[in-house]
Symmetry: C2
Subunit: 319 residues, 2 copies
């Protein structure tokens, strides 16, 4: 990139290191987890048209690029420490960069997560974040810990991000007010970092919902060697989604994607502890099913009747 573009990056993205041993500006950043802590790390690549719409406000895009990574820390019960930001930009537009940085740093500051380095280049808009957190050794929440008899929980509500996407695609009808409200879920998800930390020692497994409940629950079941039955009508949803036809509700809650809520399991003996963690962090949590020894995923409605989970049921919604 030209010198002018380097200067813009320095202007909008360089801030002094506070927690890192060495921050932006050298060949490497240096991090030092506290004694007894492991370093948790995860990375996500966001591409225009695939992970965000070209019409997204830059502030929301800055927020989302970090949020999806903080969500991975949350799913491990790790506390945020810092992040690397790599940007490919078609051009260095001061207004866009200023707004992107504003949304990014607002979320970063809210979680005490500092920018420690990265990379910039000219190219089609692409955003890559690598996030770092710490978790006490041996206490990270893993996908592999679900056991038969455990309760299955989800935080927040499911499906609003998918509902907004389907409305944007013109496949469902939504009022302007409902579209703006659900669009926030799609473009500015809230990573459940404090809940993840609060669930250490309580939850037996956890994952964050990025690809949709059915798919992500499948990862937990495979790695845990277990099965599950979902209460399909118990899945928490917003008033906007609850006003949609049942078929749309099922699609959006079961196969929504981009929810960034925590899906986790806990032994029935932990029910009070789970609700106390939810209350302490201000994040609602709903019990949505049970882990079972029998492999596979099943779903039932409020009357106990089987609900089909085959993705082909949603084929007419797929691109």
């Amino acid at each position: 990139m030209s010198l002018g573009e380097f200067e813009l990056i320095e202007r909008y993205f360089m801030r002094p290191a506070r927690r890192a041993a060495l921050g932006v500006g050298d060949d490497c950043a240096l991090l030092q987890p506290r004694p007894g802590m492991q370093l948790a790390t995860s990375a996500d690549l966001l591409l225009e048209g695939r992970h965000f719409l070209s019409t997204v406000a830059p502030e929301r895009l800055g927020h989302k690029a970090l949020a999806v990574n903080l969500s991975d820390l949350a799913a491990c019960g790790a506390e945020p420490l810092g992040f690397l930001l790599s940007l490919a930009l078609p051009a260095a537009e001061p207004d866009w960069l200023e707004r992107f940085a504003r949304g990014l740093f607002a979320l970063a500051d809210a979680h005490g997560c500092e920018l420690v380095g990265g990379d910039t280049t000219r190219g089609p808009l692409a955003i890559h974040v690598t996030v770092f957190g710490e978790v006490p050794a041996g206490r990270a929440l893993l996908r592999s810990g679900a056991r038969a008899g455990d309760d299955l929980y989800v935080s927040g509500t499911l499906g609003d991000a998918r509902l907004a996407l389907e409305a944007w695609r013109g496949r469902v009808a939504l009022s302007g007010e409902a579209f703006e409200a659900t669009r926030v879920a799609m473009e500015q998800p809230q990573p459940r970092v404090t809940l993840g930390v609060a669930l250490r020692g309580i939850a037996s497994s956890a994952i964050d919902l990025s690809d949709g409940l059915v798919g992500d629950l499948g990862h937990v079941l495979r790695r845990s060697g277990a099965g599950a039955t979902l209460q399909a009508d118990a899945l928490p949803r917003s008033a906007w989604l609850a006003a949609q036809p049942p078929e749309v509700q099922r699609l959006c809650t079961l196969a929504g994607g981009d929810d960034y809520e925590l899906l986790f399991t806990a032994a029935p003996a932990q029910r009070e502890a789970v609700q106390a963690a939810a209350a302490a962090t201000g994040v609602p949590v709903t019990r949505i099913g049970t882990i079972e020894a029998e492999p596979g995923l099943r779903a039932v409605d409020a009357q106990g009747r089987p609900v089909p989970l085959a993705l082909s049921a949603f084929d007419h919604f797929r691109p």
Copy 2:
């Protein structure tokens, strides 16, 4: 990506964790630096057409994507630990993935650096690597440590990568043999990891050469608050480059880019120690100048006459 593509990624990129506390397959990877060690991290984004030619062999591209990151660890004197790989692929081609993975893991294994996670998505070919290493607390080589009177050194030879690029662009004449030889420097650089580690406690500052000697030395001088005089005719170059006109030699050695050699400084009292580190690691090292209190960068030829360093001198080579 479709399930088939996920399976390909698992097939070519998933290997069991050896040094990481938790590797590929959960929301986060978990790393635990040894007691007293800091974690060094760096990231690079490689885009087709900008950082590599579309004609590059996949093995070499896999090598280079990790090599440019290992080079950042080398510049800090850090020992490689692991890396995250994020890939955007237009399609999942088994042959390409197999060859890319072969080049990637050959270099990773040579440095004991294991893949611990990452991200895959469909999109225009883009490769992002985040690398992790460890360095004893307080002993990392930084850009800021150069002092007036220090010797200035560079490892290996300079300019072959740029020479190959200019030949590919049709701007310089090169035999087929010379092109194939210099092309290896461009496409398959050797990160100077063992030299970087050996220079801990000997070098006063270090940086790896990715943007060209003049530009990267400028970073060291600015952060160290110092100036320097380069011996322009002392810059080490290959026989292929030495056979080119003087103007091409100056361009390629001074402003080449993609060299991935180490540029470092050390007090004159360390001359024997520097040569011992070079001998022990099998990486040739050349003294190319002196750090001075007077700010700015100067260059002289073998007769002590000033050599112009203005980039405008190379303008006819610029794209």
